[in-house]
């Protein structure tokens, strides 16, 4: 599985000189800062700092850029926990339970859970990449639109589990998100409505919509309170309690490993990646939990599932980049640009001819993950100060940052206006007990779903069902999905009834 000679070459490349590591800590810090400010994207950070890598060695450049990637993925989770603002679509599910934990004064524990789950998730993702880069690359090549439809469908099933007491309201919120994803030009180039706004030709910008519906609407609700954490005694940033959260993470080994595996596999699929991985992992953790009712109200396993999956998806996304030269998302596209700056072409020949460099990138990332644990812990003391800011000052400041973030994404007035419209929508939905997260999931996955469905229809000649039986991976995924969604709950209900009968 591992080429021993190349591996020892990688070790000597990394550990005979300090140069490759010189930019790792600055990279992690940049990533953490960009990830934790709403509206600043990880890919944006990587693009902004790409010119800095001109003067670097290739390995140094790779480690610097991937350090931004690693730090940014974790930074997005920090704001999701503390302010209900997912830094990116990969942190949506972190907010579901992380924020309720913070509101209940358990922000230290939630941050610890997030940090440990991120570190373990990223570690597992890169270990899998190291061991399985060849078979994973072969698998990625076999992924077509039908497989993507099944994966996206799996992500969408989470909608049904997100409801605040009423399944109909949960589904309605999700379908409304799907409907909103249909605004603008279709994937086949048909011009549907842009609601008289040319900005919407490409559809609604998901990140500003997410900032508005999650954060801005929640901030309106917080107005009038004193602090984010009501109890004065709970407001401290305590390393001991963060470490307790870190320790608590390992009490859920199943959730941690399952989340990491889901993230690594889904992350490897180009174009789907971490946005879907964290949702699927969260949904699976909820379905398998003995106490699913606690999810959405501050369940530690919810935070672990989401963070482990989004962090391990980073390793997964590197599979397609290193093995095939295909960028799976915006961040890996920037990495591909760095490849070309150094006259390197990713793909099978890169792996074959420069295996030591590939291994050193992977090993370097494993080292980064350990550094993230240290840097993250130190930075949490600063980032966690947000709970000590009076709400009278915090609410308008973060609202202003939300609007700025919207502009940072789109570069036009459309961004801030999207934030404002979705803030209003979120306020109405929360008031009537509709889960706003379901709408975001529908909006995020709707376009992806439509594109893949259309491609499947075209490839299958209008007969997708027959085509499904010709695609073993899609069929396998579909069967697993059905077993998980229908089989497992039915078996659980049957066992419960049987136990009840015996007891009765």
């Amino acid at each position: 599985m591992i080429d021993q000679i190349a591996f020892s070459g990688a070790v000597s490349l990394l550990f005979t000189s300090f140069a490759p590591w010189m930019w790792v800590i600055p990279g992690l810090l940049i990533g953490l800062i960009f990830g934790s400010i709403p509206g600043l994207q990880i890919s944006m950070a990587m693009a902004v700092f790409l010119p800095v890598t001109f003067s670097m060695e290739f390995l140094q450049a790779m480690l610097f850029l991937t350090a931004i990637f690693t730090g940014g993925t974790y930074g997005g989770g920090v704001t999701a926990i503390l302010m209900n603002i997912p830094g990116s679509s990969s942190s949506i599910a972190t907010a579901f339970d992380g924020y309720p934990m913070a509101r209940a004064g358990k922000h230290n524990e939630a941050l610890g859970l997030g940090l440990a789950a991120s570190v373990v998730g990223a570690f597992v993702g890169y270990i899998l990449l190291l061991l399985l880069i060849d078979p994973l690359a072969a698998l990625v090549l076999k992924i077509g639109p039908m497989e993507m439809v099944v994966v996206v469908l799996w992500g969408l099933t989470l909608i049904a589990t997100l409801n605040e007491g009423s399944l109909a309201k949960g589904l309605m919120a999700g379908f409304f998100g799907l409907m909103l994803s249909q605004i603008g030009m279709s994937t086949t180039g048909v011009m549907r409505t842009d609601i008289f706004m040319p900005f919407l030709i490409d559809g609604i910008a998901v990140v500003p919509a997410m900032i508005g519906i999650f954060a801005a609407s929640e901030l309106l609700r917080l107005r009038g309170g004193s602090y984010l954490v009501r109890d004065d005694a709970q407001r401290d940033i305590s390393i001991a309690r963060i470490m307790a959260g870190v320790g608590q993470t390992f009490k859920y080994p199943g959730v941690l490993i399952r989340g990491s595996l889901i993230g690594a596999v889904i992350g490897a699929i180009p174009g789907v990646g971490s946005s879907v991985a964290n949702l699927v992992s969260y949904g699976e953790a909820k379905r398998k939990s003995k106490n699913p009712g606690s999810f959405g109200k501050g369940a530690p396993d919810g935070v672990i599932a989401a963070e482990s999956a989004n962090s391990s998806s980073e390793g997964g996304s590197m599979t397609a980049l290193l093995a095939l030269g295909i960028p799976g998302g915006a961040a890996t596209a920037v990495l591909l640009a760095a490849f070309s700056f150094h006259n390197i072409v990713g793909g099978p020949s890169f792996i074959r001819n420069q295996t030591d460099i590939v291994y050193s990138i992977i090993l370097g990332n494993l080292g980064q993950v350990i550094l993230l644990a240290v840097i993250g812990l130190l930075m949490l003391r600063v980032l966690g100060m947000v709970v000590r800011v009076p709400l009278a000052y915090l609410v308008p400041s973060v609202l202003a940052m939300c609007a700025w973030g919207g502009y940072g994404i789109t570069g036009t007035i459309a961004g801030p206006l999207t934030v404002a419209v979705f803030a209003g929508l979120g306020w109405l939905m929360r008031g009537s007990r509709y889960p706003v997260a379901a709408t975001v999931i529908g909006l995020l996955l709707g376009r992806m779903m439509e594109g893949e469905l259309v491609r499947t229809l075209q490839i299958s000649g209008g007969n997708p069902l027959r085509y499904l039986f010709e695609r073993p991976i899609a069929l396998g995924l579909f069967v697993v999905m059905l077993l998980v969604l229908v089989g497992a709950p039915a078996l659980k209900a049957y066992r419960k009834r049987k136990t009840g009968d015996i007891a009765g």
Binding site: R192, L391, Y407, I413
Partner: protein, 146 residues
């Protein structure tokens, strides 16, 4: 009707149904091929069915006594309107001035005490945002003063 279905809930359902109807109509008029309607039409039908279910459930269930939250609702709406205005003003009067005014007013509306603390905080916050956050923007940013 609003005795069983609160006014915000009725407004939300109205918005969902109006937007769904409009998007579906627009998609149908643009092209009625399967590729164009593969998501829109099934989702529109499901939304219509779910609206019926939600309305039926709302009218069947006994109305709980609602706490008087009128002043809180108006306060939220005022801040929301101010926020929408601020979002619009960013690219029209400048990011710096719009942010300074919005944060000052927002702090006061959210219960910030003192005569000089809110404007001082707002000025410092705006400065940090323009010089820090703004410097990282890959787009040009209109400012009036800074």
């Amino acid at each position: 009707m609003t005795g069983k279905l609160s006014a915000p809930h009725a407004a939300l359902l109205g918005i969902i149904l109006a937007l769904t109807g409009y998007i579906t109509w627009s998609a149908l008029s643009a092209s009625n091929t399967l590729n164009n309607l593969i998501v829109t039409v099934p989702v529109a039908i499901l939304i219509a069915v779910l609206s019926g279910v939600i309305l039926f459930a709302a009218f069947r269930s006994p109305t709980p006594p609602e706490p008087d939250e009128t002043s809180a609702v108006w306060g939220d709406l005022l801040l929301l309107s101010g926020f929408a205005l601020f979002c619009y003003a960013l690219t029209h009067i400048g990011f710096d001035v719009a942010t300074f005014v919005f944060v000052w007013a927002g702090v006061v509306m959210s219960g910030g005490k003192g005569l000089w603390q809110p404007p001082l905080f707002s000025a410092l916050f705006t400065l940090v945002l323009v010089k820090g956050f703004g410097a990282l923007f890959p787009y040009p940013m209109l400012t009036l003063v800074l």
